[in-house]
C-alpha cells in the first residue's frame, strides 16, 4: 500500500477504491430501473385494455376497498421517506441510525405486503382470482408484479442490514445502499401509478 492511498484511506475511513467502478454500477442499475419502468408501463397498458372485460364476474367497484388502498399508500409512502432518512444518516456516517431507519423501512414494507396479501387472498376466496376474467388476470399480474418487487426489496433491505452490521458503512456497502434506495423509491412511484390507474378509477 502506498503512503498516499493509506492517507486517503485513513482520512475518509474507507478503503481506497476507484470511484469509476461505482459510477458504472450506478449507471447500470439506472438502466435496469428504466427497463423495469417499461415492463410496468406495458402491464399498465394491458390492464387498461382489459379493465372492462369482466366476463360477467365482479368489477373493481365490487372488489376494491378505498380504505385498504389508502392504508397501502400510506405505508409505502412512509417507507419511502424512512429510506430517505437512512440515506441521510448514511451520508452522515451514523451506523446505528442507518440500521434503525432501514429496519423501520422493512417493517413498513412488510405492513404493505400484509395488506396486499389479505386483499389477494380475500379476492381469491370469493372466486375473484386471476382465472376469473381478463380484468382480474391483468389486475393480479400488474399489482402482483409490484408486490413481488416489494418482497424482493424487503429481502434486499434485510441483506443490507446484515452487511451494515458485519462490514460497517464501507464504500461498497454505501454504494449498494444507494442502489437499493433508487429501487425502493422507484417502487413507490409505481404504486402512485397503481392507485391512480387501478384503485381510484375502479372505485369511481
Amino acid at each position: 500500500m502506498t503512503a498516499g492511498a493509506a492517507t486517503v484511506s485513513a482520512a475518509v475511513g474507507r478503503t481506497p477504491v476507484p470511484v469509476e467502478e461505482y459510477e458504472e454500477k450506478a449507471f447500470g442499475f439506472w438502466l435496469y430501473l428504466m427497463s423495469d419502468a417499461i415492463i410496468f408501463s406495458l402491464l399498465f397498458a394491458t390492464y387498461v385494455v382489459m379493465v372492462g372485460n369482466t366476463a360477467g364476474g365482479p368489477s373493481g367497484k365490487e372488489l376494491f376497498s378505498l380504505q385498504r388502498a389508502a392504508g397501502e399508500t400510506t405505508l409505502l409512502l412512509l417507507s419511502s421517506s424512512t429510506f430517505g432518512f437512512a440515506s441521510v444518516e448514511l451520508a452522515r456516517q451514523n451506523k446505528s441510525r442507518v440500521l434503525l431507519w432501514l429496519l423501520v423501512t422493512a417493517l413498513l414494507g412488510a405492513g404493505f405486503l400484509f395488506l396486499e396479501y389479505h386483499e389477494f387472498s380475500g379476492m381469491i376466496a370469493q372466486g375473484a382470482g386471476p382465472d376469473r376474467s381478463g380484468f382480474l388476470s391483468a389486475f393480479f399480474t400488474l399489482v402482483g408484479t409490484h408486490g413481488l418487487h416489494v418482497s424482493i426489496g424487503i429481502l434486499w433491505i434485510l441483506v443490507m442490514l446484515g452487511q451494515v452490521l458485519v462490514k460497517g458503512l464501507t464504500l461498497p456497502v454505501a454504494s449498494r445502499l444507494a442502489r437499493l434506495g433508487l429501487f425502493w423509491h422507484f417502487l413507490d412511484i409505481i404504486w402512485v401509478a397503481i392507485f391512480s390507474v387501478v384503485y381510484l378509477p375502479g372505485l369511481l
Binding site: 409512502l77 444507494a178 402512485v192
Partner: protein
C-alpha cells in the same frame, strides 16, 4: 444523486418536503373518490394530474433527479425510456381500442 451514485444529501429537509407534497397530492384524489364531490370525468382528470405531479415530486425529492446534479447519461436514458413508454403504451391503447370499436360496432 451524484456521478458515483453515493448518497450525498445530509439534510432530511428534501425528504420532508417530498413527503408533505406527496401526502397532499394523494389526499386530494382519494378524498374526491371517497366523497364523489365532482363529476366522474373531472375526477379522473384531477387523479391523472395529481399522479403526474406526484411522480415528478418523487423523482425530484426522493430520487434527487436534477437537470444539473444528475449525470447526463442517466437523464438521456430516462428520456429514452419515456419516449419508449409513450410509443408502446400509446400505440397499444390506440390499436387495441380501435380494433375493439371496429369489431363491436
Amino acid at each position: 444523486m451524484d456521478v458515483s451514485g453515493l448518497p450525498v444529501e445530509r439534510s432530511i429537509r428534501p425528504y420532508l418536503i417530498g413527503l408533505t407534497l406527496a401526502v397532499i397530492l394523494t389526499a386530494i384524489p382519494f378524498a374526491l373518490v371517497a366523497t364523489g364531490a365532482l363529476a366522474r370525468f373531472t375526477t379522473i382528470v384531477i387523479i391523472a394530474v395529481a399522479a403526474i405531479i406526484q411522480i415528478l415530486v418523487h423523482l425530484g425529492f426522493f430520487l434527487h433527479i436534477g437537470f444539473r446534479s444528475t449525470p447526463r447519461e442517466n437523464l438521456v436514458a430516462m428520456a429514452f425510456a419515456v419516449v419508449l413508454i409513450f410509443f408502446m403504451v400509446g400505440g397499444t391503447l390506440w390499436i387495441i381500442f380501435d380494433l375493439y370499436h371496429r369489431m363491436m360496432v
